[in-house]
Symmetry: C2
Subunit: 386 residues, 2 copies
C-alpha cells in the first residue's frame, strides 16, 4: 500500500425529502447566489423545493450554465457575485453546474487580475467562497470532491482546477431526482462512474486489499442496479444505490494508497474535443482498447476484476483478463453505449494520428500509472478503438 | 436504503514515516499537551518520533492514561490544560488515549461546574479544543470518529459521549507501529474491528447494496490479513491493511443508510464490568449466541454474509446462516480468542440473571436494530454463551 493523505469535509444529506433541510445548512444571514443549468430543475420540482429551502434568505438566481461549464458564462455570474456582495453559492444541478460553482468559489476570492490564470497557471485553491450543492444528476462525483473542469470556447481549452478550499460545505442527494433523468444521461452516468472506478483500480497490485475490494464493491453495485435504473428510473432503491455509487466512485476514498491510471480520460477528452461525443461514451470507446493494449502490465488486476466482479473462470490469468475486458464491453452495450468510434462518427479515419499529434504538441508528461504512455501508444490505442 | 447524513472532516496521514509530518499539522504557536498511556511508546520509538515532530512547539506531557480512560486521571490532565493555557491536545496511543483526549477536548471548553455532566447528561459536544492523534494500536476506530467512552471507577460507571466537535483534526497512522504490538492485543484489535462491522451489517436487508459490500470488504480483508498479522506483525502490508480496516470499520461510512444492532456491545460491556474480560473478547463470547438466538430475524443477512464472505454453500438460507455463525466462531478461535464465558471465568453461573437484572434496573430502551431486545432476551443469549 502506498502512503497517502485523506481528508474530505463535505457533509452529505442523503435521501428522500432532504432538500427541505437546505435552509439549515446555509449560514444565517448569507446572501446566496443560486446557480443552475438549462431549466430541467423547473420541470422535476427541484426548483420549487430549493426556493422553499431558501425561504428567509436573500438570494439571486443565475441560470444557463452549459453542459461543459464555459468560462465566458461563468464570468457573467462572477460579475453578479461581486456587484451584489454574494457570500454563499448554491449549485443546483449535475457535475457541470457544480464544477462551474467551484470555479466561481475560487474566482470570487481570487486577487489576481485574470481569473483564467487559476486554471492556466494551475493555482491551487486553499480557500474559496463557501458553497453547497443540490445534486440533480448522479455521475461525476463533483458533489463530494474538490476538483472541477472548466472550458473556454474562445481558446478551445478545457482545464482542471482544484484544492482543499473547493469541497462543497454540503451536498444534498435526493435519489428521487433520478426518476426524471432521460435514459441517455442515466446510461452516461453509470458509465462515467464505472470508468472512474476502473481508472483508480485497473493498474497493478500493491496489496491494498481493502481499497481493491471497495472499488470492486462499487463496480458490482453499479452492475447490479444498472438494469433496474435504466428500466425504471423511479425505482427508488436502485436510484439510491446508483447515486451513492457515483459519489463514492470519485470522493477520494478508493484512490488512496493505490496507483491511478487516468489515461482513458486523457484520450477520451480528445474525442469530445474533436467530435463532441458525450464524455462517458468516449470512455467506453477507449477503455477496452486501452486494456487490450496494456494487457501485459495490467493482467493481474484485470484477472482479479474478472474473477471477483464478473465471476469469470479461466485456465490462465491472461484468459480471465481477456474475458474481463469482453464483459466490460458487454456491460456498456447493455446500457446502449457504443464502444467503437466509428459508431459515433464517419470521419474517424486519422483520429489516432491527430490525437497523437495533439499530445506531442503539448509538453508531454507521460500518462498512466507508470507515466510511460507515449503519444505513439495513444495513437495505437485510439486506432484499436475505431 | 434509509436516509442519512454523513460528515467526517478528520485528515488522515497514512503510511511509513508519516509521524515526521506531525509538526505541519499542528497550528503554529499552539501550546500542546501530549497525552499517552503506560509508556509503551517509549519502547517502540514512537515517543522519540513524536518529540521530533513537536520540535519548535511549546509542549507538556501527560502520561498514565489507563486502558479504560478514567475520569479521575483525566481530571488531573484537565487541571494542567487550564493552568498551563494549553491550546492543542495530542493523543499518542490507542483508543483509550484518544477517547480520553476527546473527553479533555470537550471538558476544556465546557462552562458547567462538573465535567462529568457531559457524560451523565449526554451533552453533545459541538465544539471542543482542537486535537490530533498518533495511533499506536489499531482497533477501536476512535482516530477517525467523534465518539468516546469514559469510565469512572468511583461510581462504577462507563458512559459514552460524542458530537461533531470531537473529530480529531488529524490522525497519523503509521502501520510500522503494529510490529511491536503483543499478539494478544493484535487478536483483540482484529476481533474488535470485525465485530464493529458485524454490528452495523448483521441486521436485515434494506437494499443498501453498496454499504453491504463495503462492510463485507472490511470483513474479507480482516480475514485475509489476520493470519499474516498474527504470524508476523512486522509484515508491513498486512499491518497496513489491518490498520486501515480498523479505521474504516467505525468512521461512520458503513453505518450510513442501514440499521444498526449494537446489542452485542451492550451485553459485552457487562461482561467486562463483571469480570474484567478484554472488551474484544466479550464480543466474541456474545456474538455467536446472539446470532443463533436471533437466527429468524437475521437469517437473510447471515446467509448473505456466509455466502459472500465465507463462500458457504447450502440448500437453504437457514443452513447457510448457521454455517456462517460457525465460521465466525472458527475465525475467532483461529486468533486464540475463546468464545465461551466459562473459558474466562469459573464463576459464570448466574451471569445471565445478573445482566438481565442490571438491564432491568436501568430505564430500558430496548436493544438491537428493532429496539425490541428485552432483558429476558439478553438473559437467554448470555446463558447460551456459557
Amino acid at each position: 500500500m502506498q502512503n497517502f493523505e485523506f481528508k474530505n469535509p463535505t457533509k452529505i444529506l442523503f435521501g428522500k425529502g432532504q432538500i427541505e433541510n437546505l435552509g439549515k445548512e446555509i449560514p444565517k444571514g448569507a446572501k446566496v447566489l443560486m446557480l443552475y443549468g438549462g431549466g430541467s430543475i423547473k420541470k422535476n420540482g427541484v426548483y420549487e423545493q430549493v426556493k422553499q429551502g431558501l425561504n428567509g434568505f436573500e438570494y439571486l438566481e443565475f441560470s444557463g450554465i452549459p453542459a461543459n461549464p464555459e468560462y465566458e458564462v461563468l464570468m457573467q455570474a462572477l460579475k453578479i457575485i461581486k456587484e451584489e456582495n454574494i457570500t454563499f453559492l448554491l449549485a443546483v444541478g449535475g457535475g457541470s453546474v457544480i464544477d462551474g460553482t467551484k470555479f466561481l468559489s475560487s474566482a470570487a476570492l481570487y486577487t489576481g487580475t485574470e481569473p483564467w490564470d487559476i486554471l492556466r497557471k494551475s493555482i491551487r485553491t486553499e480557500k474559496g467562497m463557501p458553497f453547497g450543492a443540490v445534486l440533480t444528476l448522479p455521475a461525476t462525483g463533483s458533489e463530494m470532491n474538490s476538483g472541477a473542469v472548466i472550458t473556454r470556447a474562445e481558446t478551445q481549452e478545457k482545464l482542471g482546477m482544484g484544492g482543499p478550499g473547493l469541497f462543497p460545505e454540503f451536498s444534498i442527494l435526493d435519489p428521487q431526482v433520478v426518476a426524471s433523468i432521460p435514459k441517455r444521461q442515466l446510461a452516461n452516468g453509470i458509465t462515467d462512474a464505472f470508468t472512474h472506478v476502473l481508472e483508480q483500480y485497473m493498474t497493478y497490485p500493491v496489496q491494498a486489499y481493502l481499497q481493491d475490494r471497495f472499488a470492486e464493491s462499487i463496480l458490482q453495485t453499479l452492475i447490479e442496479i444498472a438494469p433496474r435504473v435504466i428500466k425504471d428510473p423511479a425505482d427508488y432503491e436502485a436510484a439510491a444505490n446508483f447515486m451513492w455509487c457515483c459519489t463514492m466512485a470519485l470522493n477520494g476514498l478508493i484512490q488512496k494508497g493505490v496507483p491511478g491510471d487516468w489515461a482513458i480520460h486523457a484520450m477520451g477528452h480528445e474525442l469530445t474535443a474533436l467530435y463532441g461525443i458525450d464524455h462517458a461514451r468516449t470512455l467506453a470507446v477507449i477503455a477496452p482498447s486501452h486494456y487490450r493494449y496494456f494487457l501485459k502490465s495490467k493482467k493481474e488486476k484485470l484477472a482479479q476484476y474478472g474473477a471477483r466482479v464478473w465471476g469469470v473462470k479461466g485456465a490462465t490469468t491472461e484468459e480471465i483478463a481477456k474475458a474481463a475486458i469482453a464483459k466490460t464491453e458487454d456491460f456498456f452495450h447493455s446500457l446502449d453505449i457504443n464502444t467503437k468510434l466509428s459508431e459515433y462518427t464517419d470521419q474517424y479515419q486519422g483520429t489516432a494520428e491527430k490525437i497523437a499529434k495533439r499530445f506531442t504538441d503539448r509538453s508531454w508528461m507521460g500518462l498512466g500509472e507508470h507515466k510511460t504512455l507515449t503519444p505513439s501508444d495513444a495513437e495505437k490505442i485510439v486506432e484499436m478503438s475505431y
